[in-house]
């Protein structure tokens, strides 16, 4: 570990001079955490992973709502006598060091009985003694070591989560039965005749029958239910032929053994269901640590501090906020309702809502909207609307959030199976009528054989395995899809719509351009010294880009709210701020954010602030334009229009000043015209558009922290790979089509045996698993080759 990075968190520590134990730290917070660990003999934390920590945030007062018993009760999983159990979501969990330290919490505080980390879900389940440790203390303890839990309104309403494990039970039962039935049918496979096999075959057959009972009745029930639902709504989905096949297999096999006519197809039956469930299981890849269904509840705080009429502070539940209440919003706290600023300096970060990280300063009497985050000390506000009536929450009352996208979409398997089922039924009927005329004893046999062998096992398998694998590959490349059907939707896209701020522009970065007469060194010095005193967001960013100069102590310094700053040093005078303030009367009303400068009452020039665009954006748009219609839907003014037209292909449509509803309506309109729309956005103002579009992708700088409801989450660092990801989805569809072809070949071979009336159990036993396994192998290998092409 070199001395330039913080020993605790790995951030740059060159400018800080904090050292402790011969180790450098970037800030006192990190040093304190190190001290806590070293005092408690927990420095192994740093052996497991280099610089695993996070800087602890100042949380004073932030968790006061945990004093409210009503809120605490809702969060606890178990609460009896002196033992309490709570599960806390901790976004920072990212490596084995985190697991180690969190599972050794009892070393830091003996009141903790046990703590168990679930890495996949990024949460920790803590059992503690509530007499010596309150939930608030526990949360403070976690925060003090850099593992601040994330408690949101979501935790309050969901209650106890139920884990659905039915698929794994079904899979287990099918696998168990499949294995045993295979063993029991070995004697029949080898067709050995003799006294021994004749004597015991009934026992073997009846055992097979009993093994397959739970498989048909329990494991396969989803297919029957789905087929029934499909038929009732007059849709021939893939589950119809599967259910038909399973039913025919079971009935024919049972009658065969009851009338001692043969051994039946129990091995194929159980095997078929086992493979089908395996495909489902494979496709069920979920990113449990990500949430695709987030709404305002996921990041709103549970509690807030109310200032009572007597002037005392009282933590209350967010839903209990009433119009006219006075609230105290602390540093770094989110404003839960629309309100009016009464006291304090408000510097609000609306990036949750707009995706834009520019900080807005507000004065007393200004209106503040829900969703903003206060950044500079605490403020007092008067509530205008309750939580449900606030502007942000109203966004979620739109109908698009109640619609299930998957239902309105016919997937590739179902569209093929429609024709498939009809064809199979026709073949079965034709073959049966042929045999009825030639040899009526074989007719029933042929009818059932066709239905058995044609059971579209391989077709039903190819899509889940292909999509499951693609899902996994894309996940590794930091593109997280909600489910497999998103891949299919992605392949059908013909229009791509981007939000501007936060999506194609990089957060926390602006480029600043100077126009005007060049400033002399003395003037630049003065400018830098003057900006130093100002806390205005624009001043801060301008200050940061100017070269380092000697800092003068100014003779006079005055800040005019909403206008600018005026300062004097020796005989020099400087004015920084809006155009009229510095003496430029006729400003050509530009839409860009600009800061004007004049010295000694002579106008010098202006600094214009531009958004910084993500790297590779031009290249991405130029590759996308060949196949897709491109649109930029921005909530901002047209200030960046010129800059954008230079950067992006000429065909790109640019629309500015779009309200969240406008974005949604725009997408709806084009969908009615037949467009398949991919929306790429990031802020809550895009939430409606993301939900309305065919595929909504949320761009996120930190996938764990926040993203609005969407179909997929893309890590911002992989933004320029977007085109490749869409291409992969298209190739996946081709793989499925190829594997369909492969399975049709198997079906034709099988049908030959079935139609000619020579389907022996052994043929079915070989052909059915063979076709399934080869399809699985085919899709796995080809998708892996595809994945290797990605960077």
């Amino acid at each position: 570990m070199d001395n330039n990075t913080c020993f605790h968190c790995g951030l740059d520590a060159t400018s800080s001079t904090i050292t402790f134990d011969d180790k450098s730290f970037c800030c006192n917070g990190c040093k304190t955490v190190y001290e806590i660990f070293s005092v408690n003999d927990l420095t192994c934390y740093y052996d497991l992973q280099q610089a695993p920590g996070a800087t602890p945030k100042d949380i004073e007062g932030k968790y006061n709502f945990l004093d409210n018993i009503k809120i605490v009760e809702q969060l606890l999983e178990f609460n009896n006598d002196d033992t309490q159990i709570v599960t806390l979501y901790i976004p920072h969990i990212h490596c084995s060091s985190c697991i180690w330290i969190l599972e050794n919490l009892n070393k830091l505080n003996p009141s903790v009985n046990s703590s168990i980390v679930n890495f996949g879900k990024k949460n920790v389940r803590v059992t503690y003694n509530s007499e010596s440790l309150t939930l608030k203390n526990l949360v403070t303890l976690l925060s003090s070591i850099g593992y601040e839990p994330f408690i949101s309104l979501d935790d309050y309403t969901v209650g106890k989560k139920h884990i659905d494990r039915s698929l794994i039970y079904k899979l287990g039962i099918a696998g168990f039965a499949f294995g045993n039935v295979m063993f029991l049918s070995f004697p029949e496979y080898f067709q050995v005749d003799g006294f021994w096999i004749e004597k015991y075959k009934h026992l073997f057959r009846w055992l097979m029958f009993f093994f397959s009972l739970p498989v048909v009745l329990y494991s396969a029930q989803d297919y029957f239910i789905s087929a029934f639902k499909g038929l009732r709504s007059k849709i021939l989905n893939i589950d119809v032929p599967i259910a038909l096949g399973v039913l025919v297999l079971f009935i024919r096999s049972s009658t065969e053994i009851i009338f001692d006519a043969g051994s039946g197809f129990f091995d194929s039956l159980t095997g078929l269901i086992f493979f089908l469930l395996l495909g489902k299981f494979f496709q069920q890849k979920t990113y449990t640590f990500l949430s695709f269904e987030r709404d305002y509840k996921s990041y709103f705080p549970i509690g807030i501090t109310k200032i009572t009429n007597e002037g005392t502070e009282e933590p209350i539940q967010v839903y209990d906020i009433e119009k006219g209440n006075r609230l105290l919003i602390r540093n770094e706290e989110l404003i839960p309702v629309d309100c009016i600023l009464i006291k304090g300096r408000a510097r609000i970060d609306y990036s949750f809502v707009t995706g834009e990280s520019k900080i807005v300063s507000k004065q007393s009497g200004d209106k503040l909207f829900a969703g903003g985050k206060q950044l500079d000390g605490s403020i007092e506000v008067d509530v205008l609307k309750s939580v449900e009536q606030s502007y942000l929450t109203q966004l979620w009352s739109n109908d698009v959030f109640k619609k299930d996208k998957e239902l309105s979409f016919t997937n590739i398997t179902n569209s093929i199976s429609k024709r498939f089922t009809v064809t199979i039924l026709v073949i079965a009927l034709l073959a049966t009528s042929f045999w009825l005329l030639t040899d009526s004893s074989k007719a029933l046999n042929v009818f059932t054989s066709v239905l058995i062998i044609a059971c579209p096992c391989a077709i039903a398998l190819s899509a889940p395995f292909t999509f499951g694998n693609i899902l996994r590959i894309l996940g590794k490349k930091k593109f997280y899809l909600k489910n497999a059907s998103v891949i299919e939707q992605l392949a059908k896209i013909n229009t791509v719509i981007f939000d501007k701020t936060g999506t194609i522009t990089a957060n926390k970065e602006t480029s600043i351009n100077y126009e005007g007469t060049t400033l002399s060194l003395a003037e630049e010095n003065l400018l830098k010294s003057t900006l130093r005193g100002s806390n205005h967001p624009l001043s801060r960013s301008l200050y940061n880009i100017l070269d380092k100069h000697d800092i003068h102590t100014l003779d006079t310094y005055e800040e005019f709210l909403g206008k600018g700053i005026e300062a004097k040093y020796k005989d020099h005078n400087i004015k920084i701020g809006s155009a009229p303030f510095v003496g430029l009367a006729n400003d050509t009303a530009t839409l860009n954010t600009a800061v004007h400068v004049s010295t000694n009452n002579i106008y010098k020039g202006k600094f214009t602030f531009y958004n910084a665009y993500r790297q590779g954006i031009s290249l991405l748009f130029n590759t996308l334009k060949k196949e897709y219609d491109l649109v930029i839907l921005s909530g901002d003014n047209a200030g960046e229009k010129e800059n954008l037209t230079k950067l992006l292909p000429t065909k790109t449509k640019l629309l500015f000043n779009q309200k969240p509803e406008d974005k949604l309506e725009y997408i709806k309109y084009h969908q009615n015209e037949g467009a398949n729309i991919l929306m790429v956005g990031d802020g809550l103002n895009d939430a409606g558009a993301l939900a309305q579009s065919n595929v909504g992708i949320a761009i996120s700088e930190n996938v764990n922290v926040f993203s609005p409801a969407c179909d997929a989450i893309l890590d911002a660092s992989k933004f320029n790979q977007l085109y490749n990801y869409i291409k992969i989805s298209k190739s996946a569809i081709n793989i499925i089509k190829w594997s369909f072809l492969l399975s049709f070949i198997y079906n034709i071979i099988g049908l030959y045996f079935a139609v000619t009336g020579q389907l022996a159990p052994v043929v079915a036993a070989i052909l059915m698993p063979l076709s399934s396994i080869s399809i699985v192998a085919f899709t796995t290998v080809t998708t892996n080759i595809l994945g290797r092409k990605l960077e």
Partner: protein, 61 residues
């Protein structure tokens, strides 16, 4: 009564025992988190080292 009945009975009983064990494991949530236990298992060494250090510390006090 043939030996095959005994053999079959035993093999099926063994299979069923394993099957029940599987169901119990799922029910207890063994398949809910497939990553953390694999990491947790490697921590034993650090814990021992840490315990021994702690005893030294208490002796010092």
């Amino acid at each position: 009564m043939s030996v095959i009945y005994i053999l079959l009975a035993i093999s099926i009983i063994v299979a069923v025992v394993f099957f029940i064990a599987f169901i119990m494991a799922v029910k207890k949530g063994q398949y809910d988190d497939s990553y953390t236990p694999s990491v947790r298992m490697l921590f034993e060494d650090e814990l021992i080292k840490e315990n021994s250090e702690k005893t030294i510390l208490t002796k010092k006090d």
